[in-house]
Amino acid sequence: MKELFILAVVTVFTLVTYYLVEPFAHSQMHKHIESEGFAYKDLPALTKKGDATRGKDLVMGAGACTGCHSIEVAGLPAPMDPVTAAQSYGVNPPDLSNAGVVFDAKFLAALIKNPAHALMLEHKYNEKSGASYPMSQFYGAGGDMDQEVADMVAYLQSIAVKKEELTPNMAFEVACGRCHAIHYPYNLDGKLHAPWTQIGEKPTFKHKQDELAFETKVLDYQDALTKYLGTLPPDLSMYIRSRGEHYIKTFVEDPQAYLKGTAMPRVGVTAEAADKVIEHLENVGDSKRHKREEIGKYVMIYIIIFAIFAILWKKEVWRDLH
């Protein structure tokens, strides 16, 4: 009985110390930001039902999207290579093939109407600063503008892969991959994928010359990006361990809440796409998590049996000693 009391005292002091050093200290060092579940409450709801066919005409025509954006699934290649595009706009405009599944519909509509507002970059692009966001805002094609925007969103949704078909690395590429690199290769379905650079997966080269040419392109792209954002966005290889799921999710929802004045835009992903991005970062930075949990079970069972035998041995030996 006395030993149990001593154990309780030791446990209480240990837990108090743990609480103070971990949960308490972290609550004092980092403000807690609650996720709003990717609802984007500050953006207006879509009031009109979009028509994909009309949307297609707008995207290809009056909306002028394809002047800068490629839509690979519709057979429209990019007008410029990524490096030239980054040198012109600061960053390579994304391919729109899967924008409709990765980005939230409300966000896409707001983005078409007023990019700086949807991206939460109005502190950088406003009348006072004289700078305007590289993507020009859509002023309408002459009809009901809300209807036109809804049509364009409907079109983007119609060409995108289905929600279930969106893979973690597709979500990452669309949402993060034009600014952030991941220099760790990763295994997926038994295949080792190459490291990700801002201009795409690094191919394998036969000749050193070709590899250097590719690396030069990456550096040129990064230079343009650095000039545009003020700093080169960090490599995300270990972000799942250095930031954790909660931070990453709430950060992409509202970067300004963490870093006031940052050039990092609000990403505008749906909750499902955010989960896919997290899964991708786990595949990259914590690829052994399933194995860890599986083996953990067996080790715990083994060690509990060991402890039971140890207790029985003690009882056996001490029977004569009392």
Partner: protein
Amino acid sequence: MAHFTKAKNLHDWLNQRLAIDTLNRVLATEYWIPKNINFLWAMGMILAITFGLLLVSGIFLLMYYQPNIDLAFDSVNYTIMQEVGYGWLWRHVHGVAASVVFLIIYIHMFTGIYYGSYKNGREMIWISGMLLFVAFSAEAFSGYMLPWGQMSYWAGMVITNLFAGGSLHADGLVEWIRGDYVPAQAFLNRFFMLHVLLIPLAIIGLIGLHFGALRIPHVNNQDGEEIDFDAEAKKYLAGDKANSKVIRFMNDFLAKDMMVVGIFLILFFYLVFYHYDFAMDPVNFDPADGLKTPAHIYPEWYFLWSYEILRPFSTDVGLIAFAFAQVIFFLLPFLDKSPNAVPASRRGLFKYWFWAMLIDMIILTAMGKVPPEGVFSTIGLYAALTFIGLWIILPFITKFEKKV
């Protein structure tokens, strides 16, 4: 030369040459342990097992770790964690054990303080234990540098800066330690060597000394009873095990040790598999960047109390207070003037001193982590002053203690 006869079997052959029966008797079967000791006396065995886990896991990590400032981070976080089979397991065992070993050391230390196990002939046990604590601290710190993350780099910067001695401005000494103006390649190589060779060697030697120091005064017991070990051992050997106040180390106390170890390992492996991140600061998963200072720089949890003794004062006073905190525990056997080696609960003012010291160190630990602002600085300052004050009054409050 000794007389050797033709051996009857392997045991006999070894026994003639290595005296294994005598060794077994002296080290195990007739190494007498008081019966009235509780599970807190098994912390030594837990520490030995944890040190073993650290050594084995460390050897595996050493096979793939690259002590190079450009490769170190990825060799740990990619090669070991993802490419090498079970590398993640060794890394988490190593990381969790490095943190847990300090929890057990602190429990072991406070057990010694509570039961007065540093007194009346047991001074060397205490001093060798404190040397082990210092060696483990150096081992932990040098190991923390190796993944070359942000906290590795900046903690390395802060701690080596301490050697400038404040107003002494011994910057040359700091550069000599680092081998550079800032932590860089020479620094990493040196700490790598310290972590994998020199300090582990010292630790193994000190463990030998610590065990050796126990042989003559024997371990204390939870009643502070002075036991006549020879008389009690005779009783035991005569078969009166129930009335003897001593038991064999093996298998008697070892059985209890292993029971406690078994329960400890459940907690340990739970942490390794399901809560490994408790021991690893997320900041250290950002690669070292000498151009980007982290918002908060703090050491690992087990150094926080002594860090907090440094922090609330001006540089020079802080360094003196810090140096005081590093050496004062060594002097405990000489500052405690009481003739009693009994549990704190049966002593005079020392009873309150013990709990005040324990709580004060927990407060210092907590304040060492949070940013030194507002009320936290004030609490930190008073806790640091309390720590120093408690040590100053210790000889006075124990001097007048009556023999119990």
